[in-house]
């Protein structure tokens, strides 16, 4: 092999190696886009860290019976979103335990954080229950849940 062939070969290998993380990042970004696109057709795309990976796994495994509705997706899309959620799920407020029924709203941290909200407030038409984050957290769909942005509708 001539020396310049070795140089070309080396560049090629280097380029291919550099491409691996790039391709992985692109796949991750595509999965995130798909997650937001599919799930926010019905509700906000809840931040993945709000449920442990194990909960996401069960939810994505039973989309045909998703809290009383059929939310099924084709197998490839389900797998793509499931893998992404599994990789990014969990760890919110150091709470790693699966909440009852895999409901974010029944996580220990959620119950703790919303302890001062009276049941009548949840029942207000403009609030429509604890799963409707954006009713009070006005920037919820952007992933912001700061207490400063809370506005509870009457």
């Amino acid at each position: 092999m001539k020396p310049n062939h070795i140089v070309i070969g080396a560049w090629f290998v280097l380029g291919a190696l550099a491409g691996i993380p790039w391709a992985a990042n692109a796949a991750t970004a595509a999965a995130q886009t798909r997650y937001v696109q599919e799930c926010s057709a019905c509700h906000i795309a809840y931040p993945p860290k709000m449920l442990p990976a194990e909960s996401w796994k069960h939810l994505l495994g039973g989309l045909n019976q998703h809290f009383g509705n059929d939310a099924s997706l084709d197998a490839a899309t389900t797998r793509e979103i499931s893998d992404w959620l599994m990789a990014h799920g969990g760890g919110f407020r150091n709470d790693r335990e699966r909440p009852p029924e895999d409901r974010i709203t029944r996580s220990a941290w959620f119950v703790r954080q919303h302890g001062e909200i009276r049941p009548t407030v949840w029942r207000r038409a403009a609030v429509h229950g604890p799963s409707n984050c954006a009713a009070c957290h006005r920037e919820a769909s952007d992933g912001h849940f700061s207490e400063d942005d809370v506005h509870i509708p009457k």
């Binding site: 809290f67 009383g68 509705n69 099924s72 997706l73 084709d74």
Partner: protein, 134 residues
């Protein structure tokens, strides 16, 4: 084969590939989706049948109209989540029925929610025939 005719063949193949990709990317429409259901079932979609299907409860808790309202030109609201639903009629919402996979995805989900089963091609043809003429 001479090198000239090889080159022409190559260019023709390129054009053909481009045309095939273009056909895939071309937006679908409600009328085209309806005609595919119609050729499957061997009859025309019946708009009035579709309307009756849409507003009936079929023995369950919900009808299609429970969330979409009985007026396809109006916005709906999901009966459980309160999520606002864009109008079903393409005359009000041009994005409706421009993607066959999306149409199938939502027929499957909504039919399961309303009828506890998937809809037949006949039912889909009738509903589509009604919605696209509103």
């Amino acid at each position: 084969m001479s090198s000239m005719s090889k080159r022409i063949t190559f260019h023709l193949a390129l054009v053909l590939c481009g045309a095939l990709i273009g056909m895939q990317a071309r937006a679908d429409s409600g009328a085209e989706q309806l005609s595919r259901y119609e050729s499957q079932i061997g009859r025309s979609g019946q708009p009035e049948q579709g309307r009756l299907f849409f507003i009936s409860k079929h023995g369950g808790e919900w009808s299609c109209a429970s969330c979409h309202t009985e007026n396809p030109k109006a916005e709906g609201k999901h009966a459980r989540t309160d999520h606002v639903l864009d109008p079903m009629a393409p005359s009000m919402n041009p994005k409706r029925f421009t993607n066959a996979a999306k149409t199938e995805k939502w027929f499957k989900r909504s039919c399961n929610d309303v009828l506890s089963r998937e809809c037949t091609p006949e039912e889909k043809a009738d509903v589509l025939a009604w919605l696209i003429t509103q």
